[in-house]
Symmetry: C2
């Protein structure tokens, strides 16, 4: 095994990811556990850290530790105050919060980013992905529009290497709520899986339905997830894909409604590959292009921040 230089943690709302990083930020090993910040095992965050990466620490005494995401929220381990927009890499490094968990275990927490106003917005974890994206694709630093889909999708405007603005859409959480708890989820919950092609068509039908109603959007259409099934115009098994199309379409409708960003501000998808593919299909239906999705942004960003802060061994 090559020399380990950094232990990097990404603490999501539902998953804890740990990366053992080697020279230049190479991912030597990667682990994940279903330990969201509100669902940690015994011993809280430090117990989770030892459980997921105790052997890595034992094998490399003095290994630096950096963590981003919900670990720094008010409900997390230690609250790391938000850095305001526009926020670049230097501001994030300055905002790193160092806390000693035990003798010889100092953890550096990445601050989140906030944008003030009458509709303020915040993110924790995605700012690190942005840093990772800009390290992997430096040509985007001048200007880019990053889309990080998920439970709470984030749209991040980058300019001159800094996070200029951000907007959150609750698309993933809304879909999960409607699937699990609403009348719309009922038919598909009891149906048997159908062919993938039909599912893809149902998704695109949902996206197109929203796109055709630029002024109103998905609110007008949600109940059609049920009525189309009642009327035999949509198969029960495909209805959740249609619903997903409505919600992703609604996110695009709203995010794209504002003034178009300057020419040369490419749309870039970041994160989970399957989710990015879904968004790419929807973006194409809106008549737009997006760059190939960028994966592995989180460990890349953690490495960049830790490296600049002098936390990586052997640098």
């Amino acid at each position: 095994m090559p020399q380990a230089h950094l232990l990097a943690l990404d603490c999501g709302t539902s998953v804890l990811r740990a990366y053992l990083l080697g020279e230049g930020g190479a991912v030597l090993e990667e682990r994940r556990e279903p330990w969201g910040i509100m669902h940690l095992p015994e011993g809280g965050f430090i117990g989770a850290l030892q459980a997921i990466a105790g052997d890595w620490r034992a094998a490399t005494p003095g290994l630096g530790v950096i963590a981003c995401g919900m670990v720094g929220s008010a409900q997390g381990w230690f609250e790391a105050p938000y850095v305001p927009c526009p926020a670049g890499r230097d501001a994030l490094v300055s905002g790193l919060l160092a806390r000693d968990a035990a003798p010889g275990l100092r953890i550096h927490i990445v601050p989140g980013v906030t944008r003030d106003g009458d509709r303020p917005d915040v993110m924790r974890g995605e700012e690190t992905q942005v840093v990772g994206v800009l390290a992997r694709a430096p040509e985007l630093a001048a200007q880019a529009r990053l889309v990080i889909p998920g439970t709470h999708s984030k749209w991040v405007q980058v300019r001159d290497g800094r996070i200029l603005d951000l907007h959150t859409y609750m698309t993933g959480e809304l879909f999960a709520l409607l699937r699990e708890h609403s009348i719309l989820g009922r038919p598909a919950r009891t149906a048997i899986a159908g062919p993938e092609e039909a599912a893809g068509q149902a998704f695109e039908r949902g996206v197109a339905a929203v796109r055709e109603r630029p002024g109103t959007g998905a609110t007008e259409l949600l109940f059609s997830t049920r009525t189309l099934v009642l009327k035999g115009q949509l198969k029960a098994i495909d209805s959740l894909e249609y619903l997903s199309g409505l919600l992703v379409g609604e996110e695009l409708r709203c995010a794209l409604a504002g003034p178009a960003p300057p020419n040369g501000s490419p749309l870039v998808l970041v994160g989970d590959a399957a989710l990015c593919q879904r968004y790419l299909r929807a973006i194409a239906l809106f008549g737009l292009d997006a760059m190939p999705p960028i994966e592995g942004a989180s460990p890349a960003g953690l490495w960049q921040l830790a490296h600049q802060a002098g936390l990586c061994a052997g640098r």
Copy 2:
């Protein structure tokens, strides 16, 4: 006790209401049980009918029985096929489905109403409320826009005494889902109730925020229910009222986005008094007038339909 002429039932998704009606449709007695069509007591619908109104039937042998709402759905007792728009009182009476539950117990089920198209819509129960409204306020028969707020709010366009069109907004269900299961509901779930005035202001703030974004609406704003609390710009205890304002405002934004109905097509709220007051406040913030809400539409409509069908004793 005056002579009973009709036993009328309104079967909602969460509540069963029973009315004992006298001459001219006067409500002699009214009862409600938390027996939604998917949560019926032992014995199913007929068991529920006997439990809620068995004594009324025993006291007046031969009492006619009429029922509207989910009893006629595919998940109900007997499916009563939908009547298509435009649907007037005659069509609803023709569509009454008579089924014998036991010797001497014939139940007449009111059909729902449907509107076809690429975004079809349906209702069950509200068509009966429309009949009741037009009986109580005959001047609305020429044309009116009825708003029946609830789990699934219905907007019904009436012309020449018939239901011309209908649209469903899942406002009430969305609010309940977000309150009970989402990250937005968490702060208010653990807070202590504050003064009513502040709650009213938070609601109006939510409505106004949507009205100020006519092109995009609540999708852009949902997450601000959380971030405003994080930033100290909204009290946790008021956050659900703000969320309610966003969702009711979104319903109005969409429903009012279409071409304005002809002059003289008044906006009329129907149903639960507290909910109607909430919608009235929101409608005023959109700069529109609405008539005073109409209550008791359901028993009035059940009486009208039963009377025309010859089901009422002593007529």
